[in-house]
């Protein structure tokens, strides 16, 4: 039995956050000149760049779909992004994450508008501190919009987890490694539709419900940040009010 490490002191987490607090998020749109769309995003100590190319001719040709565009998603961690150097290139973990992330965008990308084409999404992690796939999805979502890809909505993503018996939002590396559970989700904020959900570890049904609610609330916050980043790029007078509120 592993000895429990103290991750919560006096109702605060080790980095001083409350249980329902996100790490600081920084977003910059259009950072890569030669990509069709791009985004740099920081989620706490995670640093990620997403680049989108396309729609363009799909290679290999046999993978083309005559009825709709094919989305290619590559999640990749730089060798220097972790504490110990990571062996470069795709591995079991990153292949799985790429698949999960690609499928998180399935309900939003209007693929039928570009038959036979390929839309390529590259997510590169420059620095990692737990929750990299959620940071990657948030960045990819903005990069896709920036590339002018027709989409029904933006996708927002965040993780919840359990540390020292408490359900907390947005785990960092120390909490992820020593906690009891980690559950990343991706969702469409406007409709509260969950497009990806994974869980690692154990939570009770009640904790799961509480965690999900917490994560969904946080996705709304992230959505506002994503939207603000895109709008302020062309409109400096943006007041940070979502169009959805007017509905």
């Amino acid at each position: 039995m592993k000895e429990e490490i103290e991750l919560i002191k006096e109702g605060k987490r080790l980095d001083g956050r409350g249980f329902d607090e996100l790490r600081p998020i920084k977003i910059e749109v259009g950072v890569l000149k030669r990509a069709d769309g791009s985004c740099y995003l920081e989620l706490g100590d995670n640093k990620v760049i997403a680049a989108v190319y396309g729609p363009r001719e799909m290679h290999p040709r046999h993978a083309q779909d005559a009825k709709m565009a094919v989305v290619k998603f590559r999640y990749n961690m730089a060798p220097f992004s972790t504490d110990d150097r990571k062996r470069p290139g795709p591995d079991r973990r990153s292949v799985e994450i790429s698949k999960v992330c690609r499928e998180a965008f399935n309900p939003v990308i209007m693929r039928e508008l570009y038959p036979k084409m390929g839309i390529e999404v590259y997510v590169e992690l420059l620095q990692s501190d737990a929750g990299t796939r959620t940071a990657g999805i948030n960045a990819a979502s903005i990069a896709l919009a920036d590339a002018g890809i027709p989409m029904k909505d933006l996708v927002s993503s965040i993780a919840v987890g359990k540390i020292n018996g408490e359900v907390v939002l947005d785990l960092n590396a120390a909490e992820d490694n020593n906690g009891e559970a980690d559950m990343p989700i991706a969702m469409i904020a406007r409709t509260n539709t969950i497009t990806a959900l994974q869980m690692d570890g154990r939570m009770t049904q009640e904790e799961f419900g509480r965690g999900l609610k917490l994560a969904m609330g946080a996705c709304h916050q992230i959505y506002e940040l994503q939207r603000a980043a895109l709008v302020t790029r062309y409109n400096q007078n943006y007041e940070g009010k979502s169009k959805r509120e007017e509905e």
């Binding site: 069709d36 769309g37 920036d146 027709p150 904020a189 406007r190 895109l230 709008v231 943006y238």
Partner: protein
């Protein structure tokens, strides 16, 4: 003032007015692209970026990419390419166009003005040559993102009219973002500088006035040079 929207933004409840760059869900119109909304008439989102997708009736400038009898493969500044059949030229050809002499009529890298006649569900594109389709002599081509084309034309053609007058050039703007300019060397330099400037600053307001100012100051400087 421009209103920038992102995919998923609610636009209206009048589903009948839903136009390009939007989609309808449960009786409401939402944006499907990152761009600027236009509520006059149809509700449209003019995208800020993205690739050109040919649609029926577009008049565009194509570039011959490849010759494979009996077709010319035409690059349209789009992810989709089109084929132009030799019969499109049979009306003006002096002889029968065959495998060997296709390049006498249109060679690789030649520019042609074509009209998109039909696009089927598999994005197979049928083209027709426009009457004065050849753009070989005395002019130059510049390329801008197709999303900036409406801005270079301006509201009911105000911008392009001014450009033509003040630059003293023939300017042909194709829907796929390729622009053909013909005139004196100096004039063409000026025109291409200004058009690229418009494309770069397309999202700012009061652009037509600023461009007019730029052109006037440029002219004045020229005159001063000539006098001095």
């Amino acid at each position: 003032m421009y209103q920038v929207v992102v995919p998923g933004d609610f636009l209206s409840e009048e589903t009948k007015r839903a136009g390009e760059g939007t989609y309808v869900e449960e009786g409401k119109v939402y944006a499907s692209q990152y761009g600027i909304v236009n509520m006059r008439g149809e509700i449209k989102v003019v995208p800020l970026s993205g690739k050109y997708k040919p649609s029926n009736g577009d008049v565009i400038i194509g570039k011959i990419a490849e010759i494979s009898f009996p077709f010319w493969i035409v690059d349209l500044a789009s992810p989709y390419e089109a084929r132009l059949h030799v019969s499109a030229l049979s009306g003006i050809a002096r002889e029968k166009i065959e495998f060997g002499n296709m390049s006498d009529y249109l060679n690789v890298d030649d520019l042609v003005v074509v009209k998109v006649m039909d696009v089927n569900v598999l994005m197979k594109i049928e083209l027709a040559l426009q009457e004065d389709f050849e753009l070989r002599r005395g002019g130059r081509l510049i390329e801008i993102p197709h999303t900036k084309v409406p801005r270079v034309i301006g509201r009911s053609g105000s911008m392009i009219k001014m450009l033509k007058e003040k630059c003293n050039c023939f300017i042909f703007i194709a829907k796929n973002g390729r622009i053909w300019i013909r005139g004196k060397e100096d004039d063409m330099d000026l025109a291409s500088t200004v058009i690229l400037k418009i494309a770069r600053e397309s999202h700012t307001s009061g652009l037509t006035d600023r461009v007019a100012e730029f052109l006037d100051s440029f002219r004045k400087e020229k005159e001063r040079e000539l006098r001095g």
